[in-house]
């Protein structure tokens, strides 16, 4: 049986001789092993226990990495040293690939957000550059990994919510004609509704009678009620008005698909994320979160009034606030939440990692907007705060719903393994152990 000390020596020797040509590595290994055995004998003679003697002898050898560097300098040419260094580095990078890829994706996504903000890419009528980026990352993830990696969740989230408005409102809508005017606004939300319906039915069938589902259904009802409330009650000239009665039949016909689309988009990511949770519990929460960012920024557009006033009556405060309100949700969604989630092993920790950044973003965004708009016609009033609260609830509810579903069906192990055996669905057996492939 291998003792811990023997395993430690083996690891030390492997590290010290890594990258050396095979015969030389063998000779060096023999020499170092002899050194170690001599040291152990001396420690035993001085009265140490075998375990303590081996531990002390290994400590005396020092840092294996320093020894390896020294041996490489003596025995390898410059080119061979470079190859050895790369050979040493790649497995270490691979080991931390989820964190590295997540950070890289986050930084690229943030750069796009910054570029978009500075150069007004989307305001000039160009398609949103983040959506194709997200599409590329998700596709790359599926092609290379054949499974969703952690870094692709915000991308997937952005894609799920962003792809339709990108295709539909930026380009195709302008084509005009009866199809694009009437059919398309119904077909696209209809397709989403279908996905949600199928996902919902599957969930319903598999979770019938399970404890906790009542909370999920309650949240779903609350979410739809909030969506209806934000549609019916609108903020006009600083006051809340019940707007449905003021709308004409034509306005209702035009607005209905949009409201349907928003309603479906609020819930669909949760349903899709839950299906993804069959393979990786984390997707159940991160996909909705990514979607919320897209919905929050793309549809609610918290910078709208700030951008308007910044262009009309430019001031340093407005400019700073507008930049903060633009970058804050992106930083939280693309960097803070995924990395926090990735480094948190406990279920409670992940729940906090999902809820705290999202909640903080919402609160800070509104507080900052209130500061920025303080001396303008759009200054925050009690009605504005009430309306903002309702809107915030609209973004937080799907996340809370996702958390509830994640706690009911998600996999704890999946987050740390981040590469999971996806042969059996977690929903079929929630207690199934997930096997890390790393």
């Amino acid at each position: 049986m291998t003792t811990p000390e023997a395993a430690a020596l083996e690891q030390w020797l492997a590290e010290a001789t890594k990258g050396l040509p095979q015969p030389l590595a063998r000779d060096v290994r023999t020499e170092l092993e002899a050194h170690f055995e001599d040291a152990v004998e001396d420690y035993l003679t001085s009265g140490r226990t075998p375990e303590a003697a081996r531990t002390a002898a290994l400590a005396d050898l020092g840092d294996a990495e320093v020894v390896r560097h020294g041996l490489h300098r003596v025995h390898l040419s410059r080119g061979e040293r470079l190859v050895a260094w790369v050979t040493w580095l790649v497995p270490r990078l691979w080991q931390h690939r989820a964190v590295i890829a997540t950070a890289l994706f986050g930084l690229v996504a943030l750069s796009v957000v910054v570029a978009d903000h500075r150069h007004w890419i989307t305001y000039r009528g160009h398609p949103d550059p983040l959506t194709p980026l997200a599409f590329g990352f998700v596709l790359l993830s599926l092609l290379l990994e054949r499974r969703l990696t952690t870094w692709s969740y915000p991308a997937a989230g952005y894609l799920l919510s962003g792809i339709w408005p990108w295709l539909f409102f930026e380009g195709l809508w302008k084509l005009g004609g009866p199809f694009w005017d009437i059919v398309a606004p119904l077909v696209l939300p209809g397709a989403t509704l279908l996905i949600w319906g199928i996902s919902g039915l599957r969930t319903l069938r598999r979770t019938a009678g399970r404890r906790g589902m009542a909370i999920a259904w309650l949240l779903l009802g609350l979410l739809l009620a909030t969506r209806l409330a934000t549609t019916a009650v609108q903020l006009r000239d600083g006051a809340l008005v019940f707007s449905l009665s003021a709308l004409s039949a034509t306005e209702i016909r035009i607005n209905a698909p949009w409201v349907l689309y928003l309603s479906v988009m609020s819930v669909a990511p949760v349903a899709i994320g839950l299906q993804a949770a069959q393979r990786d519990g984390l997707a159940a929460v991160l996909i909705p979160m990514g979607c919320q960012y897209a919905v929050f920024v793309g549809i609610a557009d918290p910078t709208y009034h700030l951008t308007f006033y910044d262009a009309w009556q430019p001031s340093r405060t407005l400019h700073t606030v507008e930049a903060l309100v633009t970058y804050l949700p992106a930083v939280i969604t693309f960097l803070v939440a995924p990395l926090w989630m990735l480094r948190t092993p406990s279920r409670q920790g992940r729940t906090a990692a999902l809820l705290v950044p999202a909640g903080t973003t919402l609160i800070l965004t509104h507080v900052l907007s209130a500061i920025g708009l303080a001396h303008t016609h759009q200054a925050y009033t009690a009605a504005t705060w009430l309306s903002s609260g309702l809107e915030s609830l609209l973004y937080l509810l799907p996340i809370v719903l996702a958390i509830v579903l994640y706690n009911l069906f998600g996999q704890d192990e999946a987050i740390l393994a981040h590469t999971v055996d996806n042969t059996a669905p977690a929903l079929a057996d929630p207690n199934r152990n997930v096997t890390a492939r790393t």
């Binding site: 010290a16 023999t30 170092l32 002899a34 050194h35 320093v66 020894v67 041996l71």
Partner: protein, 104 residues
């Protein structure tokens, strides 16, 4: 104590007393300096191999107490290098001592 740069000289000196192997050389250096000169013993081997590559020491295998050991001994070039290094070190040490003595 930081031994950066002086390990080759110490190894050559240890081997001037006769052929030896890695662990014994490390022990000898530590004992001779009353454990003032301490170092990570594994780092001895890259230095030994460098000296061998430079032709200052040569290695040979021998069987001692049923265990195969790699011994090192000084070559003629090694003896000359030891004398030169020792002289350089003494000059350096005298210079440092002179400066420190002056400071008193």
């Amino acid at each position: 104590m930081n031994m950066t740069g002086s390990l080759p000289l110490l190894i050559l000196h240890a081997l001037s007393r006769g052929a030896s192997y890695g662990y014994a050389i490390a022990k000898q250096i530590k004992a001779s300096s009353s454990d003032v000169l301490d170092f990570q013993e594994g780092t001895l081997y890259p230095t030994l191999h460098k000296l061998e590559k430079d032709g200052l020491v040569e290695a040979y295998t021998t069987l001692t107490n049923g265990r195969q050991r790699l011994y090192y001994r000084l070559t003629e070039a090694g003896e000359r290098a030891l004398e030169a290094e020792r002289a350089a070190w003494m000059t350096y040490a005298r210079a440092v001592n002179a400066v420190l003595g002056e400071a008193k």
